[in-house]
Symmetry: C2
Subunit: 355 residues, 2 copies
Amino acid sequence: MSAFWSEMVHRTEPYVPGEQLNEANILKLNTNENPYPPSPKVVDAITNELKRKLHLYPSPTVDGLREEIARYNFLQKENVFVGNGSDEVLAFSFMAFFEPGKKIRFPEITYSFYPVYCKLFNIPYELIPVQRDFSLQVEGFFQSEGGVIFPNPNAPTSIYLSIEAIEEIIKNNSNQVVIIDEAYIDFASESAVSLINTYENLLIVQTTSKSRSLAGLRVGYALGHSDLVEGLTRIKDSFNSYTLNRLAIAGATAAFQDTNYFMETTQKVIHTREWVTSELKLLGFYVLPSQANFLFVSHYKVVAEDLYKELKMNKILVRHFNKKPIQNYLRITIGKEKDMKLFIAQLKTILQSYN
Amino acid sequence: MSAFWSEMVHRTEPYVPGEQLNEANILKLNTNENPYPPSPKVVDAITNELKRKLHLYPSPTVDGLREEIARYNFLQKENVFVGNGSDEVLAFSFMAFFEPGKKIRFPEITYSFYPVYCKLFNIPYELIPVQRDFSLQVEGFFQSEGGVIFPNPNAPTSIYLSIEAIEEIIKNNSNQVVIIDEAYIDFASESAVSLINTYENLLIVQTTSKSRSLAGLRVGYALGHSDLVEGLTRIKDSFNSYTLNRLAIAGATAAFQDTNYFMETTQKVIHTREWVTSELKLLGFYVLPSQANFLFVSHYKVVAEDLYKELKMNKILVRHFNKKPIQNYLRITIGKEKDMKLFIAQLKTILQSYN
């Protein structure tokens, strides 16, 4: 607390990221990172860039990377905005499309950064309750006053919403921007990106942190009508001309050029997810149907916080959100197959002690 | 223009960075980059980090780099805030310490990003006229309503303000934050960092883009009382948990560990600056007394815009600001000695055609 803080600082309620323990031998299943390293082509591209012009500013418009992302998504460069991680892209989106005095809507259970942005930028919000099975209540998002945002698949529930349902939400908010936060979409059945050419009020936010194994490089992006991209660009150019450094641009560009590696590692994660799901069910867990690289689970007998603590004592870190109505759930990132076998084995040992 | 833009987008007047031409063989003296590559130890550190954990998030608190910066400045980690370039650090500072409804003050001639932040965050401002020799009018900054910001040395004038004068400004704004933007301080006589332990309302912003040859890596930082750093951290943690990627953290940390290389390249730039200054004076230029890695000059006969265009035709890029009262000045970045010899030779040829 300081007499020099602005009102903005006073009203913040900062986001608390998942624990980043520095201990060796920790099995980290708590922040939804990809267990596989990035494509070797990413490492090569960064190594080459490193030898070039680190003393010169990067491109302020990042055309090359934007073209690569556009190509992958059958869009134009003008439909692509890039930023320093999808959290920055989301922050700019709240600034560009949401407004103090106009209530936006997001699900009661969702990515916990959304209310943090609302506090920062003084944007009022309504929480739309989820259904008993944690799926989204589609009609609850119709005719919003100030806009809509939700992740698909939702976090931390891992549940996917169909493109048809998303289209209904977009149609029923024709004067407001609907932001679909697709951080986990590559582990799911289908992106809403195909709707971009039809709906001018749709903004899709994606990231290289999950399916492209680049959480450490901080590159996120938004896809939408060129007017929305221009709005984001005006905010960014009033905030920081160069949000991506030379190495991040080179690495992310290479990641979008190596589709095979990305497909292969994504399929491995999905495969492991299905195996872990069936194992957990055998151990008495209720497992929400996941289309992400994590599971959201609850045990029929042992409370989640106890399991979280026991796992941590055994050097396995998962995420527990100590708030209603999800306090009895754990969010478990899908790791490599061998790590998940270890996880299941440890879990069996822990559960035995409760019998 | 779009119906979906927020009021914030509508009121922006985005910053326009210096031209980044992609043509080969351009001598780029327009964006104040360091002509020398970063320390080889920076490249090594990034190469090592690249082999490690790019698929995992970076540290959200960046303790290692903050400790290194603190050590160099005889401060504590709690006095250091790091961000994605000093432009991001400045943006967070405007959010954390300045306020809509309270007029801040900056010089009439200064870094042109300050009014851009003011538009974005709706912060009113007063321009304090500079003196006839372009030096700052110290008393003009006393008893500000909402705070003070200026670069030292000032941009684009290159003129340095003494620590004694800065201390007077800080003392005469005891209820407001005074931000000294020291992007170019390593080319000048003395930083105001020695005042931090005395004045709780002083924030100093620095960057690795200039003296550390890392414009392409985007690492800036602020130094100040721990309460100010906490205010910045609250804003950052409400905006983007991880603003520096793993490679930027590794590279900047190594840069602060190699003081010798930094001292050597900085001295070379200063040496070349003094040589270019004397040559320009011989050619009929008025050269403001520079303590930066650039010069701000005006010719007694040839107008600046013509010179800018002629130089550009000869593949030399300098910066011309087409606005009063500096429309007859050019800002020239100090390059390597051999490049500046070429520059002076070209300039001689151009000027001959005006005789």
